[in-house]
């Protein structure tokens, strides 16, 4: 069991650390995107405010969106209206004409935004978390195998650290190795339910992909066939005449009647997430409204269907089967769309602790082996290759990822807005910096590499805090004027990260000095007998 725990952790540790860090950041995907696109402003608010949008709420947004689509998307077969939430503040409409897809975003005054920042935003972290930027090249399989290994490591970890249960709530101070081992065991227990939930739900989301044999045997299109069979859909719309009133004019969509009916059924504020209008301008047009996911653990919220031109409720989607519902709940638990800000932060803390669990495990292994090796082979210089690879890899994975993440965010602000392939350049910067971190870790002695990379991380985060505050400065002023906590909190978090890395760097510096002093003493103690021998 101990052997399995150790080697599962070693083999998949770096990968799991990257997946956990990225997954933890993904709890704030819409917020990160919001920060990375400074042209976005607060649209959806908690309390009714003075301006036009908040005074009329979602009804105003629906009215403006449909008005825009009626004027600009006359040839589309369907329209989609995405209403802003308190998390993303992104209000946009979408339609397709032939193969061309159109997307228009609005600001809070319902004016179309002409230029928007070309960025992957928080979606980069989310996609990296489960595809490892290898979509189509087996990335999801690798991430799945890592999740399975993590699950196994959790169970074997309970056995490996079973003695800890006797001394629960114990963190021995003094020696770093003891404290790290206690901390590893403690956070292993603290995050056990969270990690189990995350690993099991991750595997369940792609269960059909990992075990396609049954689906391939019973369904024509394999995985797609299964999804088609278990996911309920609405009956196809037939041919229909144009919706024209008695005066010969095009009919108006009766959104007011529909929204009034909805207000009785869904009573939470800003309850609508998305509206799909199928076959606009046709007599049989459908108005499909999707609720926000704030009141359900499932990743599929309730959907209601109305006739667009009569406002009467139509037969909606059939209930999903139990396995489909189970998979959706797993999906919802993994993504935590239901979580309010407090719960989201708690889950973020647990995710960060999960990352700390993996990193401490990796560090403990290297330190224990290193100490044992140096005690047994004090006369030999250097460490064996395997230990050196692990040590350097730990530095590049843990510190490299911290630096690369900050650079990804930093580049978002520093690259010119009109640059070609701007979004790809941000991603490239992330990977180039990570690669540089690996190179630095290989070249420099380990203790120096830890210290230097921590200093670089501290610098990067402090620079990020400054850049977040000053570029674009008007955005910060606007955020201060409107008390936009989401936007402003990024500057605070970056500054706190910077301070955290400075503290870590100072601690590492002390250890570095102590180690060099010890080496000097050892060197002197070796030199003294040599000098005496020479004198003789």
């Amino acid at each position: 069991m101990i052997w399995l725990h150790t080697y599962l952790g070693l083999i998949t540790g770096w990968l799991l650390f990257a997946i956990f860090v990225m997954g933890t950041l993904s709890y704030f995907t819409p917020e990160i995107t919001y920060w990375m696109m400074p042209e976005r402003q607060v649209i959806a608010g908690d309390k009714p405010q003075q301006d036009q949008v908040h005074a009329h709420g979602q009804r105003y947004q629906v009215e403006k969106s449909i008005g825009y689509l009626e004027a600009n998307a006359t040839n589309a077969t369907s329209w989609r209206v995405y209403l802003p939430t308190q998390r993303d503040h992104h209000w946009y409409v979408q339609w397709s004409e032939g193969k061309t897809r159109h997307l228009v975003s609005f600001n809070k005054d319902a004016i179309p935004i002409e230029t928007s920042t070309d960025t992957k935003g928080g979606l980069f972290f989310r996609n990296f978390h489960y595809t490892l930027q290898l979509r189509g090249y087996g990335g999801r399989y690798i991430a799945g195998v890592a999740a399975m290994a993590m699950l196994l490591a959790l169970f074997t970890g309970i056995y490996t650290h079973r003695r800890f249960f006797k001394d629960f709530f114990t963190l021995r101070k003094g020696k770093v190795t003891k404290w790290t081992t206690d901390f590893h065991a403690l956070i292993g227990i603290v995050t056990l339910p969270f990690c189990l939930m995350i690993c099991i739900s991750a595997i369940m989301i792609y269960a059909i992909m990992y075990m396609p044999f049954s689906a391939n045997m019973h369904f024509e299109n394999g995985e797609r066939g299964v999804n088609k069979a278990i996911i309920p859909s609405l009956p196809a719309l037939g041919e229909s005449t144009q919706a024209i009133d008695k005066r010969g004019m095009k009919k108006d969509i009766l959104y007011s009647t529909i929204l009034a009916d909805l207000k009785i059924k869904w009573q939470e504020p800003n309850a609508i997430k998305r509206i799909t209008i199928e076959s606009p301008f046709r007599e049989n047009s459908r108005f499909i409204i999707e609720r926000t996911k704030s009141l359900t653990v499932s990743n599929r919220a309730e959907r209601l269907v109305y006739s667009s031109y009569t406002g009467t409720p139509l037969e909606g989607y059939a209930d999903e089967s139990a396995p489909a519902t189970f998979r959706r709940i797993m999906y919802g638990l993994h993504q935590a769309n239901f979580a309010t800000i407090g719960l989201r932060w708690l889950l973020f803390v647990l995710g960060a602790l999960g990352s700390a669990l993996i990193s401490t495990g990796l560090i403990i292994w290297v330190n224990q082996r290193k100490t044992a090796y140096l005690n047994a082979n004090s006369h030999q210089l250097g460490l064996p290759l395997s230990l050196r690879i692990m040590e350097k890899g730990n530095i590049a994975t843990i510190m490299g990822l911290a630096i690369a993440t900050s650079v990804f965010l930093l580049v978002n602000r520093l690259l010119p807005a009109d640059m070609a392939n701007r979004a790809d350049m941000e991603v490239n910067a992330f990977f180039v910096v990570w690669l540089c971190s690996i190179g630095h870790a290989i070249i420099r002695p380990s203790k120096n590499a830890w210290y230097e990379q921590t200093c670089i991380a501290a610098l990067c985060y402090l620079a990020l805090a400054v850049v977040s505050f000053s570029i674009p400065f008007e955005r910060t002023l606007d955020a201060l004027a409107t008390l936009d906590i989401t936007y402003l909190s990024f500057t605070v978090v970056f500054a706190l990260c910077g301070v955290g890395f400075i503290t870590l760097a100072r601690w590492l510096k002390v250890r570095l000095v102590q180690t060099s002093d010890r080496y000097d003493l050892n060197a002197k103690s070796v030199d003294v007998p040599n000098i005496k021998a020479r004198k003789r």
Binding site: K166, D167, F168, F169, T170, L171, K173, L186, I187, I189, V190, T191, P193, F194, M197, L295, T296, V297, I329, L333, A336, F338, A339, G342, L343, L346, L347, V349, L350, L353
Partner: protein, 90 residues
């Protein structure tokens, strides 16, 4: 959820105090028999408070599934918080 959080933290704190390593903090003056009684009482109180917090979460004005996610998350964070605080004094 505020009351659930308070109950969870208090419950975990009592369980931490009742653990073999930390019980001497509250029961150092007692003899062995009394100490065992104090330890058991503290432990039972801790479990009762945790049970109470679970009940409070179940009856919170939120969907049950979301309340349970809240409760598990709070328990995890409370264990870490209590462990860090209780070991600081050592």
């Amino acid at each position: 959820m505020v009351s659930v959080s308070i109950l969870v933290i208090l419950g975990i704190a009592l369980l931490a105090i009742a653990s073999d390593k930390h019980v001497k903090r509250v029961a150092s003056k007692f003899n062995r028999k009394r100490r065992a009684v104090v330890q058991t009482t503290t432990r039972v109180s801790g479990w009762l408070l945790l049970g109470g917090s679970l009940l409070a979460a179940v009856y919170a004005p939120l969907p049950l599934s979301i309340s349970l996610v809240w409760w598990f998350t709070l328990v995890g964070c409370a264990i870490l918080l209590v462990a860090l605080v209780i070991n600081k004094g050592n």
